[in-house]
């Protein structure tokens, strides 16, 4: 069982309240991603759950058990750090076996579990090497192996892929998702990369300045953002935001339209502009358009769209997919 409940959890550093009272429920087996810009408190929240930081107020429960006062070693959680945090003086075998040694297991049992984890993570050939002799991806697998052998109730990941190159990040993302499908253990994953959030999560928690902006499935956040912040953060390229008279015409202070919900035409449209940069990817075309009276907007078209720098183009938003926000930045439901 791996449910996590946060009730009124707050965190202050001296006089600065970085996390105001926060409530959150994570169900057993969920893959939950904390996402948000730098400094939003996502890593702090993860460290509070881990017990590496003390809460300033509120309670943390794991499977209904209040663990607020318990040290990290007693919470039954495992954590994978951004910098891997491998023990440089120990071999891969000893790194993975360390938590089992701390748990007091017999050496034969430790060896068996380490071999099994190494096999699952394709580390068999490197088991006697030290971290300094491994690549970034291998080190990350060792860190994951060290977490797996503990058979924790939940895994905590603190931006584990940030230090990897783009190609490796893509591969490791899939591996972590497959791991979740296999183990079916609760995973709490922190990232600033909304693509990681969208592709890996069962549930996304969007954080901004310590506050939870919205909690929901990736598609829910994508289709129904409750605030300007969530709308602008989720989705790549970002949602186009329009204020002033064009927004007022649609009955809102601000309207948001995703790049793929702009209909493009060389014959004109609700808005007109000049193509600045045209990105032809083959499967998609992204046009960065300087729209008259509005500013720069990004539009996406399927396949090849014959537009070049300097061309005049018309854009029409799909009104059914338009997002309306009031002056306070909250989504207007009607």
């Amino acid at each position: 069982m791996g449910s996590i409940t946060l009730k009124g959890v707050t965190k202050r550093f001296d006089d600065v309240e970085v996390i105001p009272p926060l409530d959150l429920s994570i169900e057993d087996g969920e893959f939950v991603v904390f996402v948000g810009p730098s400094g939003c408190g996502k890593s702090t929240l993860l460290r509070l759950i881990a017990g590496l930081e003390d809460v300033s107020g509120g309670h943390i429960e794991l499977d209904g058990r209040d663990v607020t006062e318990l040290p990290p070693s007693k919470r039954g959680l495992a954590m994978v750090f951004q910098s891997y945090a491998l023990y440089p003086h120990m071999t891969v075998r000893k790194n993975i076996g360390f938590p089992l040694k701390m748990a007091g297991l017999e050496q034969s049992a430790i060896d068996a579990k380490v071999e099994a984890a190494a096999k699952v993570l394709n580390l068999g050939d490197y088991i006697e090497r030290r971290p300094g002799q491994l690549s970034g991806g291998q080190r990350q697998r060792v860190a994951i192996g060290r977490a797996i052998v503990r058979e924790p109730s939940s895994f905590l990941f603190d931006e584990p892929l940030s230090n990897l190159d783009a190609a490796l990040r893509g591969t490791m993302r899939l591996e972590i998702s497959e791991l979740h499908n296999t183990l079916k253990t609760t995973m709490v994953y922190v990232t600033h990369d909304q693509v990681e959030a969208m592709t890996m999560a069962d549930k996304i928690v969007v954080l901004n300045k310590g506050n939870i902006e919205q909690v929901g499935s990736p598609l829910e956040l994508y289709k129904n953002p409750v605030s300007l912040f969530v709308a602008g953060f989720i989705g790549s390229p970002a949602m186009n935001m329009v204020t002033g008279e064009p927004a007022a015409r649609h009955g809102a202070h601000t309207i948001g339209v995703r790049p793929e919900h702009l209909r493009l035409s060389t014959e004109g449209g609700e808005w007109s502009g000049t193509v600045g940069v045209a990105e032809h990817l083959g499967s998609d075309t992204f046009l960065h358009v300087e729209v008259d009276g509005i500013g720069t907007m990004t539009a996406r078209a399927d396949g090849e769209f014959p537009a070049r720098h300097g061309d005049r183009i018309g854009l029409t938003p799909d009104t059914a997919r338009l997002h309306r926000f009031d002056a306070a930045g909250a989504a207007m439901t009607a």
Binding site: L52, S73, F81, Q82, A85, P88, H89, R146, R150
Partner: protein
């Protein structure tokens, strides 16, 4: 941008470096040389190696003084005070490095400031304390004094090393179920071993060479090699040759230790200076 260094400049700085090196080494070199001269030749200042080499000073010193007992006292005091200092300093440096508070920096400065106090300023109270507690002329008493005298430096050096260790690794150990004792034993100490070794070496050397407290607080039983050397400056005058022989026998062990561990010593003294 690389600087252009001319051959002339290189030669100049090389000569300067050798001059400074020779100037520093010369007293030791002269002491060792004098230890092989007779007393007459020692005061006459002959040509560099042109004298009658003799081992009589060494045999006289060995016969006259219990070198072995003084040597053993030095070893016990230097090694003993190092071990005690480490037992106190490792947890202290851990707390300062990994759980610092607003007062940590001030506390470190205050500890180091005690090194600026002239020892003679506290001689009388320490002497009276030792007399009344029966610690005068005991190895235990000197181990205590040496520990306290060098503790600020040991804590400071360990603190500097520990700060170089990423805190996340210790956090990972905590998440892996390590208690504080296991964290220090299995993770921190092995990672900081080079720093701990350098600190130990430096403390052994400092304790070995310490003369003020060893001369003041010891007489016959616990006198280390520093007192052994001083015993050869007598009211009749200085017997330079024998004094040199006694000095050579006193400094030889720590010179040899320093020679074999110079890499660690240099690393220890300069670690953290450059990132």
């Amino acid at each position: 941008m690389a600087r252009n260094v001319t051959t002339g400049q290189k030669a100049f700085w090389t000569v300067c470096a050798w001059t400074v090196g020779i100037a520093i080494f010369f007293p030791i070199f002269w002491t060792v040389l004098t230890s092989f001269k007779t007393e007459a030749e020692a005061v006459r200042a002959p040509a560099l190696f042109d004298f009658d080499w003799t081992l009589e000073n060494y045999s006289t010193v060995f016969d006259r003084s219990p070198y072995a007992r003084h040597f053993l006292n030095s070893v016990v005091i230097a090694v003993g005070s190092t071990i005690v200092a480490l037992i106190i300093a490792v947890p202290a440096a851990w707390a300062m490095a990994f759980s610092p508070t607003k007062r940590t920096r001030g506390l470190l400065m205050w500890m180091l400031s005690t090194k600026m106090l002239p020892p003679v300023g506290v001689l009388i109270p320490i002497y009276l304390l030792f007399r009344d507690t029966g610690l005068l002329d005991t190895r235990t008493g000197l181990v205590i004094v040496m520990t306290l005298v060098n503790l600020p430096i040991v804590i400071w050096m360990l603190f500097t090393y520990f700060r170089e260790i990423p805190g996340e690794i210790l956090e990972a150990a905590r998440m892996d179920g390590a208690s504080l004792k296991s964290e220090i034993l299995y993770v921190l100490t092995p990672m900081a071993l080079p720093g701990i070794a350098s600190t130990m070496l430096l403390n052994v050397i400092l304790a070995w060479n310490e003369a003020f407290w060893t001369l003041t607080l010891t007489a016959a039983n616990a006198a280390p090699l520093t007192a052994f050397i001083a015993s050869y400056s007598s009211p009749e005058g200085l017997f330079y040759a024998k004094l040199s022989a006694a000095s050579t026998m006193a400094i030889a062990p720590v010179l040899i230790l320093g020679w074999f561990s110079q890499k660690q010593l240099v690393r220890g003294l300069t670690f953290g200076a450059v990132k």
